[in-house]
Symmetry: C2
Subunit: 705 residues, 2 copies
């Protein structure tokens, strides 16, 4: 038996703070437990009552003459520690604390929550809450509704983990109307004990759960979440889709790191990266995620992206088509063989397009035959069926026909029945047979698109994390020697050297302490060259006039050396100037930027984007948490809007994106190996034509100070 079975399948429950007052939380919860036909025993605890709802009451948990699996605690916050301590003494394995007044109120509440965490750890109690709505297990083996004021949902295969009680309630409401059933239902509250990670692990193996819905406001441990979520969405025998609604999209993380990369990372887009890397489907609104679970929980996944749209009126068919195309589905013309087959069943008045408009006269025969031929066709993977009944339409018959044909196949069908004529009976028939019906054609198309995306996730080439042979010890030496000087900022030649130990291509360069050394270096590297100031006090070299490009001869270099020194001194007389870095001018290439920013919570976050000011103006950048798999490196480039530019766009040659991927993977390894690297920018990395590689022409590394 697993630890969390005490939460979801308790044989006996104490309800501490049960109340005789109808309308109170302590009364509602007890009533829900009883009304849900809980399969175990319930013991109300209330020192002031003899019985509640006809059930004998106890003064405290200690005196209950039974072994207890779960304590539901509803007493005022200040009394919770004492009650929880008693639960520990009674060896109760799990506790659900409904009571509010903890971390969420700040001050003394925070302390109180720490106290209950201490007791929880001491007695090894599986704790849900505090400050939550409760839990539900709709499995008839348990039939547990330990919530206050929420009706028991239908039994189903969706588990819902929510960080908001209110949204639990809203989703249950939506579900009820849509005939959606649930397996488990957990309001996490303050997550003082169990959080999304442990709950996901439990649901991973829960045979009653096929789809997991989450409402999140934060993640307790993003990396752990990724690995657990990925193990669920990528499970070989039994992958389960996870659909998440993450609130706080627009709340930009407080730590606006000063660096260039930092200003883009740390935002909600990191969550996008986390979800994408772990195969979690992120919805934008409560409605979207509700729509998605409806399809995922009832229909098989499509094997591909080709959709047929069947309708009896033009407008809704076009709206569905638009949405399909916008979200990556294909609404392609039907193959000739299918057209031929369809013509057997349909009058000449029906044009055999996709979407196929069966026209207002369509009856169940036309719907049935059309849908059957479509689902039989090997090149079509799913169907959207739309009905806008007229007075002559037998909605129920059409609904039954759709059910019948859908059951003959293992391809997903989603529906949209619209209309003033009563379509509710038809919708009931569809939903009773597990065919999702949506109110708007766009919603049906959107849900199907997300199912197809999940198919693509499952079908992806599984890649690992590439391990390069690098000179780690050498990198360690450079970093340690920088640290030993008390600096947290690597000079450019030091940053270049670190990158070189990890196999990054770097433009030929040399460090020079005098004008003479600079001239000598330039001659050895070959003209034209650039020179850049090397000073720990000058981070933004360009702003300080610390960079001179396109120097064509010795006298250019001499002058540039002097100018740079003067101009930096003018801006900051105290700047410690160690010399200059002399670099060969690179041949022209596409500028991209590679970056890393170490997030206090999520660790190293890699960034990729176009170089120059476009990065920031267009925010056309992608993020991934390091370490990244080979596929992730590919996707970091692919997911930018501008990625086409690298692929032989408009007469331009294709660029060496493989070399960029290689750098991204090396970067991933470097920042995973060296936790002291706080920020790293390669800006720009110059990318050359395919086969010609790329080269670093500016780099910045900042250490944790």
């Amino acid at each position: 038996m697993k630890k969390l079975d005490s939460v979801f399948y308790p044989k006996s429950i104490a309800v501490v703070g049960a109340s005789r007052h109808p309308g109170s939380v302590g009364h509602s919860l007890l009533a829900n437990l009883i009304d849900s036909r809980f399969q175990g025993v319930v013991y109300p605890v209330n020192p002031k009552a003899r019985s509640i709802l006809g059930i004998k009451c106890y003064t405290n948990v200690i005196e209950i003459p039974d072994v207890l699996d779960l304590a539901v605690i509803l007493v005022p916050a200040s009394l919770v520690p004492e009650v929880l301590e008693e639960c520990g003494q009674k060896s109760i394995k799990a506790a659900l604390i409904i009571s509010a007044g903890f971390k969420e109120v700040g001050g003394a509440g925070i302390e109180l929550e720490q106290r209950i965490q201490k007791i929880m750890r001491k007695h090894d109690i599986a704790l849900v809450g505090p400050n939550c709505l409760g839990i539900i297990n709709a499995d008839p083996d348990s039939s547990l509704n330990a919530t206050f004021g929420t009706q028991m949902p239908e039994e189903g295969n969706i588990a819902f983990i929510s960080q908001s009680g209110a949204l639990c309630v809203a989703v249950l409401d939506y579900a009820k109307e849509s005939n959606i059933g649930f397996s488990k239902f957990i309001s996490m509250g303050n997550k003082a004990g169990l959080n999304e990670n442990e709950l996901l692990l439990y649901l991973k193996d829960d045979p009653k759960t096929d789809v997991i819905l989450m409402y999140l406001e934060d993640l307790v441990d993003g990396r752990k979440f990724m690995s657990i979520a990925r193990s669920i969405t990528s499970h070989v025998q039994n992958p389960k889709p996870i659909i998440a609604l993450k609130a706080g999209r627009t709340l930009i993380g407080a730590k606006a790191a000063s660096s260039h990369t930092g200003s883009l990372a740390g935002s909600d887009r990191v969550y996008d990266a986390i979800f994408e890397q772990s195969g979690v489907i992120r919805g934008n609104t409560l409605e979207e995620v509700s729509d998605y679970v409806k399809a995922f929980s009832s229909q098989p996944l499509p094997k591909g992206a080709n959709v047929a749209i069947v309708t009896n009126s033009g407008g809704p068919g076009i709206l569905a088509t638009d949405t399909c195309i916008q979200h990556g589905l294909k609404v392609a013309p039907f193959p000739p063989r299918l057209k031929k087959a369809l013509r057997q069943h349909l009058s000449e008045a029906v044009s055999l397009n996709n979407p196929i408009d069966l026209i207002a006269e369509a009856q169940h025969e036309q719907y049935e035959a059309t849908l059957r031929e479509i689902l039989k066709d090997k090149d079509l993977h799913a169907a959207i069926v739309i009905l806008t009944p007229t007075a002559f339409t037998d909605v129920e018959k059409i609904a039954h026909a759709i059910v019948k044909v859908t059951k003959e196949n293992s391809k997903p069908v989603v529906c949209c029945f619209l209309g003033v004529y009563d379509v509710s009976r038809g919708i009931d028939i569809l939903e009773a047979h597990g065919i999702p019906a949506y109110r708007f054609p766009e919603s049906a198309a959107r849900a199907l698109a997300e199912m197809t995306r999940f198919t693509q996730w499952l079908q992806r080439a599984e890649t690992g994390i590439k391990k390069y042979r690098v000179e780690k010890a050498k990198a360690r030496n450079i970093i340690d020697s920088v640290k030993s000087t008390g600096r947290s900022f690597l000079l450019e030649h030091e940053a270049y050297a670190v990158l070189q130990t990890y196999g990054f291509p770097v433009i030929p360069y040399a460090f020079a302490k005098t004008s003479g050394q600079a001239i000598q270096a330039a001659s050895q590297l070959g003209f034209p060259v650039a020179i850049k100031i090397a000073s720990q006090d000058v981070i933004h070299k360009f702003d300080f006039g610390g960079v001179k490009l396109n120097l064509n001869n010795v006298s250019d270099v001499r002058k540039a050396y002097k100018d740079i020194n003067q101009s930096v001194r003018a801006k900051n007389p105290k700047a410690r100037i160690l010399g200059v870095v002399v670099e060969k001018m690179a041949p022209p290439g596409k500028e991209v930027i590679l970056g890393m920013n170490r997030d206090p919570q999520f660790g190293p976050i890699l960034m990729f984007g176009l170089g120059g000011i476009y990065v920031e103006a267009l925010q056309d950048v992608t993020f991934r948490l390091a370490p990244i798999r080979e596929l992730a490196a590919k996707m970091m480039i692919k997911r930018t809007i501008a990625h086409k530019i690298f692929e032989g766009f408009r007469g331009e040659p294709p660029y060496d994106t493989a070399a960029v991927e290689d750098c991204l993977k090396r970067l991933s390894q470097l920042v995973t190996d060296f936790e002291e690297i706080k920020e790293l920018d390669i800006n720009p990395l110059l990318v050359f034509e395919k086969g010609q590689g790329c080269t670093t022409v500016d780099a910045r590394i900042i250490l944790q100070s």
Copy 2:
């Protein structure tokens, strides 16, 4: 009396094709007319029936012993011309043709439709349809439901024009549930007679209509639509919002013009331009537009973008906040004076943030006091009120409190009541008092955001179309002389000359027919220069090796002249080479592209975007139909994502966008003056720092051939 009054306010109606068979269209429509308590007289026409629904029948319209305003025609398509002709003879002013089987079926149907158009014109009949669901006028003065199978909606202030009968039905369904009322309701069908433009004009002056909802699949005359729509949304005393759902977003216009600009224009984005230029609010989905009309029809417009969110649970409040921010609303912290006022009413457990979470205990007193203080505050313009009731919440009292406070003010309030506890009574109370309630918090926020956008439209600075003094005759001469040679493609120096007559800044250039002339020109212009081939057979000069840049001296020019000639000859031995254009090399600037493509339907469409391949890779371009107003020129730049780059971004100087606007307005004038200009590209226009202007360094003009 207006012509369309015969459609909407007929005193007498003939129903030609009325039927005794329940369930038939001819029976349903007559029954609807009668059941809707039509205020005029109805005369069924059916040669085979003595009476229908107890009403005396006539053999044809001629024999009806009354003056008739409207004929509703339901007979088979083939009989329609004859019936319509009789209507004409009877001097019936308006006809509504429900019957299908016209243009939409192709072939003979197209001819049939042309025949009825002819009859319509002959007798000057205001015609709705054919192939439509019918019309409704919910004004009790008429109380007309001339549709088949659609219940009469509540009377309200929304007019709905739809190009799809099915969507009429779907929207009415949504409306019924949401207690939304309609004024007029028109299913346009094939638009053989009346189309969106005439209907909009009628609704503009309809005192019963405050909001116009449209479902469109195309526009009969986009330019007329723009001017009518704009006159409605910009009306000084009584602007009416127009909310449009345009289907076919992803169907790329067939005419993939070969030019660079053409490949971007002609798409659905032209509709975006049309809607934006005329102040029409475009929704993405049926649900969105339905949500919008609900708010627009019942609430006053906000005076600004500052929103307060009142909730009794965290999650939904955050979701609403996210949506607000994403769509341009401001959810700012409350001013101290408001916090002070709120603290009088709220316990210490409530944090005075925005969104303000009144916590689960909140009752109507807290909602009422909070909302009142918020709406009283001069710096807040609107409120979103969210309620997730607990067992102790009196939903009805809270709904009444919201109604009461909302009525005290003239600021918009939108609501979202969520929950398993029955909130339906509360929602009924809200909606009965004209306060829109949404199922999801994001929907409420989204609707409010669109209202705010409309406010911004109304508050915009009204600008006119700038008229420059130009040398039109000179431009005419150049174009005519090109035409006289049989060419439709202007050589670069000709294009430059045309642009100069309209005051565009153009890089100093000269046309040279020999190497010697080229050298002379270069010396006069000053080095460095570029030279470009001048040949009517070489459109893509770069691809032909027809361009040489950065020529620093006489020998460079001599060599380049030779190289260009050779390279063009090599690619196309038959190319007629007229010489070269010699240009001064421009100083560095930001590259933008200005373009025009003349759409067969919509006329000249201007394009603005970033130069280089980014234009196409990112599709970060804007379109507007010429002629453009001064504000539109500004917005063409402002609406690109990359516009920030021009505004002093990240240490760069601000660029001279005023000069670009000037060019856009000159371009607008040029292509409006010369209808024979089919395509025009200035690619790039180099933009310099603010105050330094811009200059054309490449131009292409193609004439209609």
